[in-house]
Subunit: 163 residues, 2 copies
DNA sequence: GCGCATTCCTTGGTCGGCCAATCAAATCTC
DNA sequence: GAGATTTGATTGGCCGACCAAGGAATGCGC
């Protein structure tokens, strides 16, 4: 807890909200993530994608056609979220949905050829985003951050979610 | 860079999504933040609050009546976001909005007395969230995470915001 | 005082994300 | 095989969050 006080010294963009006392790291995660998403949105805007969509596309480009349920599992999203996202991606021409011949309730999703030109741009955007995010951080710090976030992820993965 | 090639050469350990290669930390932030927000939502649900709202309430409890513009600045949110959030909080009886006598276009917001009983519960929920998030992390690790996230925040604070 | 930019807030729209409930198909059980 | 269960996907509703655009009051320059 002393460590927290130590870090309190340098405020960033705001003054210390009470949330930062009840849960300093939680607060930092929320703030950083919001800024990060915003930055992602601005980078992706030029490509006609909204933040979140690029993850779907990357999976499809990478792994080829996938069942919707697979995307849901991989992205760890709510089924309805994926459904709606895919409807929009389909309408935007980035994605095609076909019935799965092996399972008549399933839907196969694949990236359209038209979308493939976005691949490089999206990865470029993510590269820029990553660099913007990590400017001034040394390689060990980046690794450390990755490591710590992975632990957080593990902690939260089943926390209350396994109802 | 060499590490990436090394991972490509042979099979990938986990189901490493392509996003994790273009921006591993970005990907980790997104994932961790989503899980974190979800956990927050589940903790706050019992209190009748949605994630995000508790930050507004905490500011009001802490600092007393505030102008909407102040909340916008402090929470670093879009004005329209705050407007709608406050409309819902007001309708839920957690917040009251009065005209600012000193500035006829401004709105003063204050937490209702009825909402004050939530204060302790919200802070309790945030405490639990924080602990759930950081389980298994040592004090130095927590401090490190906080520190690294602060750097990320700083990096993203203006990055692309003015464009 | 007048006009113009600024500030404060609102509305409308879009999107990601969740939950709850639903339908359809596949699977398991008996 | 009939029935119950599980899985796959959808719909509707809600909320946070953004942008774009607008209206209203303030403040500044003149």
């Amino acid at each position: 807890m002393e460590a927290i006080k130590a870090a309190e010294g340098h405020h960033i963009c705001t003054e210390l909200p009470s949330a930062a006392r009840s849960g300093p790291v939680s607060h930092a995660i929320s703030r950083a993530a919001r800024l990060h998403r915003k930055a992602a949105g601005q980078l992706l805007r030029g490509l006609g994608l909204h933040p979140g969509q690029e993850l779907v596309m990357m999976h499809l480009w990478e792994r080829g056609p996938a069942r919707q349920s697979e995307l849901i599992r991989l992205l760890d999203l709510d089924p309805s979220t994926v459904t709606k996202m895919l409807q929009r991606l389909e309408q935007a021409g980035h994605v095609r949905r076909l019935p799965d011949p092996a399972d008549r309730r399933a839907v196969l999703v694949e990236a359209t050829d038209a979308s493939s030109h976005l691949l490089a741009e999206v990865e470029e955007a993510w590269g820029v985003l990553e660099e913007n995010t990590l400017t001034g951080l040394t390689a060990p710090e980046r690794r450390q951050l990755l490591d710590l976030l992975a632990k957080v992820e593990t902690n939260l993965c089943g926390s209350g979610g396994e109802g």
